[in-house]
């Protein structure tokens, strides 16, 4: 089983030469600048070990003992990257992937930048899409150098040598040298400029199911998540943030808190308090004793209804145009039939199983951080801005993430922990209770979608109009990604419709919720919200036309054969059209985000009291070239269940400025007894690899609500489903 170890340090053997090599070998944008310009590495390089002399690029190194270490440019939060990415390197390097050491990458937005996102970010189902070629090239480059070193040693043509299983063999004479014995010579070989990569037909590893490399520690408790960091002298802090969003701390009873055995300190912040103690329980008790009082501020009377009313009002205004084809505004009134709908999707929390936490050791001239994050580089930079410390003085150790789902694409938790640690001596682990985690999450925005369509006399859609209103995550997260006033994430599934329509209009209105309530990414990002609206609406159009939902969609997919194929295969797998008992129905949906094509059929039962029981889900996925097929299956199962939780129950509501939900009792998620049978079918299309972590969730929600419609005739236009389909 593989070892996973922290990657605070850059790969051993990192030197100016290595940087130049990285730049050449992986063409990471800005690598040259980093290699030559920043002193950070020079400082850190003092601590480098020398046992791994061969580090041809940022992603791998080989020690003299033959130990092969892979540095992961993406983080592992369950999605399987710590298996699929090593498979890509090992495939070309010709080593046993089960024996490699996996390292978390250190924070570095240049060297470990996600080519699709421009910084060290794991998200948006981009790991395989962005790393499929670079990691294979990393492995192939090293292999070519090792082969060259062996050929040189034997005085033979490299073309007569073969690399296999961590060694180079001279085929004619049977001579063999292990990689470990070649590393010193290989490191002196000039970097090959353009190494050939294997043709997929030659893959021995990629494309075949491979056991996960990261799970032995996950079944015996030895895996280390951020919350598991233990340091000499570590103290524990529990937080309370103003329960009214945007409120401030008014007063507290510090004396009573300090009287609790084990409590060492009370840290006052503008809008929060943290109690520090020898252990978490004492900190919790201390916090209760402190009984903090709050100034509610401007949001004291705000409720969800106010926020939704504002959204509805904003949805009456015209927005920034994302896409305009033909003249839908003129075509809709002229159509034989008009269909209008409003869809609402609630605020959602992430509720990762590992509650938010961050451990910080702050001294007068340094800040050391232990956390699990999807954005190590951005987090380090944010702490530099917060503290005024230079890059080399902000050290960040990344960890396995106990769930991400977008929550750990933010550094708010780390900044908060640094605020606490600045007032404390020694390392402190700041823990969010589950209540704090849910009530002070950064939420998936509430979205309000207005849609209209015009159908011709045969029921086919001639014009489609869509206005999306909601908070803009992109405008806050990275304004440079905005397109004028259009949030490209919010409109993604709407403007990239797979369906062919002669007249199409998509626009976006930005409407932020109350101050103090921040919004962020959630599994499936904009594709999840958009797919719900689009796939519910197309289902409504099919119903208005009196057509079969599968046939109606397929008729509009002449130019998207992969989409049509997954739809038809999902229908076939489910036995679409079968007669069902009363109260049961099947719904279908298509998702075309992240470079993948997915169709799902949900079979659901709806009781008279409106209780919805998903019984069976069929999922057909064409994500192009498959790296680890079993991971694709696992991510589809995962996405379906995550989507079911949200669609059936998920909702964050506000009353008197406070989040009403507190814990898993009132923020319900699916349990094992509620899970339907899930069948996953993989399509072997051989196309470019697509993403798989998110679209399973995106596709599920409309497939479920369309099934409820099929079962009851009740159209679900507002999530969560709750008991809306009640008939009694």
């Amino acid at each position: 089983m593989n070892t996973i170890r922290p990657g605070l340090l850059p790969p051993a053997g990192f030197s100016r030469r290595s940087f130049l090599k990285i730049t050449v070998a992986t063409a990471v944008e800005g690598g040259l600048l980093l290699g030559l310009g920043l002193p950070a590495r020079a400082m850190v390089s003092d601590t480098l070990t020398t046992d791994a002399p061969f580090a041809p690029n940022a992603f791998l190194r080989i020690g003299r003992d033959g130990t092969v270490s892979f540095v992961m440019p993406m983080i592992e939060m369950g999605q399987g990257t710590y298996t699929s990415l090593p498979m890509l390197i090992a495939e070309e390097l010709e080593v046993d992937v089960d024996k490699v050491v996996i390292e978390h990458s250190p924070p570095d937005d240049k060297v470990y930048a996600n080519p699709l996102l421009g910084a060290q970010i794991t998200g948006a189902s981009t790991a395989i899409r962005s790393m499929y070629v670079p990691l294979r090239r990393a492995g192939a480059t090293a292999r070519v150098m090792l082969v060259a070193a062996a050929a040189q040693a034997w005085g033979v043509d490299p073309a007569t040598c073969v690399a296999a299983d961590g060694a180079v063999v001279h085929s004619a004479t049977g001579r063999k040298l292990q990689y470990g014995a070649l590393v010193d010579d290989a490191s002196k070989i000039p970097l090959p400029a353009d190494v050939p990569l294997k043709d997929p037909s030659q893959f021995r590893l990629v494309g075949k199911p491979h056991h996960r490399l990261d799970i032995s520690g996950k079944v015996d408790g030895s895996a280390t998540f951020g919350i598991d960091v233990r340091l000499p002298g570590l103290k524990f802090a529990v937080l309370a943030t103003s329960p009214v969003l945007g409120g401030t701390l008014a007063s507290l009873d510090e004396k009573k808190a300090l009287a609790v055995p084990g409590v060492t300190q009370v840290v006052r912040l503008d809008d929060a308090v943290a109690v520090v103690a020898r252990h978490t329980w004492a900190a919790k008790q201390g916090l209760a004793a402190a009984d903090p009082q709050w100034d509610a501020g401007a949001n004291a009377k705000v409720s969800s209804a106010d926020i939704v009313a504002q959204l509805a009002k904003a949805a009456e205004m015209s927005g920034a145009v994302a896409k305009h084809v033909g003249d839908p505004v003129a075509a809709i009134p002229r159509a034989a039939r008009r269909v209008d709908a409003v869809y609402e999707q609630p605020f959602l929390a992430h509720a990762t199983m590992e509650p938010m936490n961050c451990t910080v050791h702050f001294t007068k001239d340094s800040c050391e951080i232990w956390v699990g994050t999807q954005i190590p580089g951005l987090t380090q930079s944010a702490v530099m801005r917060q503290t005024g410390l230079t890059r080399e003085r902000v050290r960040l150790h990344n960890h396995l993430l106990g769930g991400g789902f977008g929550r750990r694409l933010e550094y708010d938790g780390t900044l908060r922990a640094v605020q606490v640690a600045r007032q404390d001596e020694g390392p402190v682990q700041v823990i969010w209770t589950r209540e704090e985690d849910i009530q002070h999450d950064m939420y998936r925005p509430y979205y309000y979608d207005r849609m209209s369509a015009g159908l011709d006399e045969h029921g086919a859609p001639q014009a489609w109009w869509h206005r999306i209103t909601g908070s803009s995550i992109v405008a806050r997260y990275n304004p440079a990604w905005m397109r004028g006033g259009v949030d490209p994430d919010a409109v993604e599934a709407s403007e990239n419709l797979p369906y062919e329509l002669p007249n199409l209009h998509v626009e976006y209105v930005r409407q932020e919720p109350l101050t103090g309530m921040q919004t962020t990414w959630w599994r499936g990002v904009g594709v999840t919200r958009g797919t719900f609206a689009v796939e519910t609406f197309i289902d409504e159009l099919a119903a208005a036309a009196g057509k079969d939902p599968v046939a109606y969609r397929v008729a509009l997919l002449a130019k998207s054969p992969r989409a049509a194929n997954v739809l038809q295969r999902a229908a076939r797998a489910s036995g679409w059209g079968a007669k069902l008992p009363a109260g049961q129905g099947r719904g279908i949906a298509l998702c075309t985000g992240f470079g993948s094509f997915i169709a799902q059929v949900v079979h659901a039962n709806v009781d008279k009291d409106g209780t919805v029981t998903p019984m069976h889900v069929w999922c057909v996925v064409d994500c192009g070239l498959q790296v680890n097929p079993d991971t694709i299956r696992a991510q589809m199962e995962s996405g379906v269940i995550f989507g079911l939780s949200a669609a059936l129950f998920g909702e964050i509501t506000i009353k008197d400025g406070r989040v009403e939900q507190t814990n898993f009792g009132d923020y319900r998620v699916l349990r094992i007894n509620e899970v339907p049978t899930i069948d996953v079918e993989l399509v072997d299309s051989g196309e470019a690899p697509g993403g798989i972590g998110e679209p399973g969730t995106s596709c599920l929600m409309p497939a479920l609500t369309n099934a409820i419609f099929a079962a009851t005739g009740k159209r679900i236009r507002k999530l969560p489903v709750g008991q809306q389909a009640r008939r009694a």
């Binding site: 799970i215 015996d220 252990h279 978490t280 990762t352 209540e435």
Partner: protein
Amino acid sequence: MVTLTVNGKTHSVDVAEDTPLLWTLRDLLGMTGTKFGCGQGLCGACTIHIDRRPVRSCLTPVSAAVGKRITTIEAIGATPQGKRIQAAWLALDVPQCGYCQSGQVMSAAALLAAKPHPTDRDIDDAMAGNICRCGTYPRIRAAIKRAAAGGESK
């Protein structure tokens, strides 16, 4: 001072009697395999065994475990059921993020100890208290059945 027997080893810990075992294990004994998930007995991430029965350590005060045998994820592999469960978990690649899996393994091992051949209903009853946000439930179910079948063949 409270004296606890954890995985066969005796520890003296300086905590109040009402301190939950969860924090005693994690923060004072440095045994971090047992996870904090909700603090209210709603998610099962903190499941341990006391005298072979599964309990939620976030709600169980140390006083309730004095003189009893505490088993945690770190040592469950030494029991026949725990060993089979872990092997089945690996064989079927159950974990994803893995954070809830300590609790899942502990609940499943207790189930097998009580019911060597659990039905689907037994699995629901024993495992419904353990939340997994990654949705590994179908594989958990399959792995429990695999582990149970492995027991039969011995």
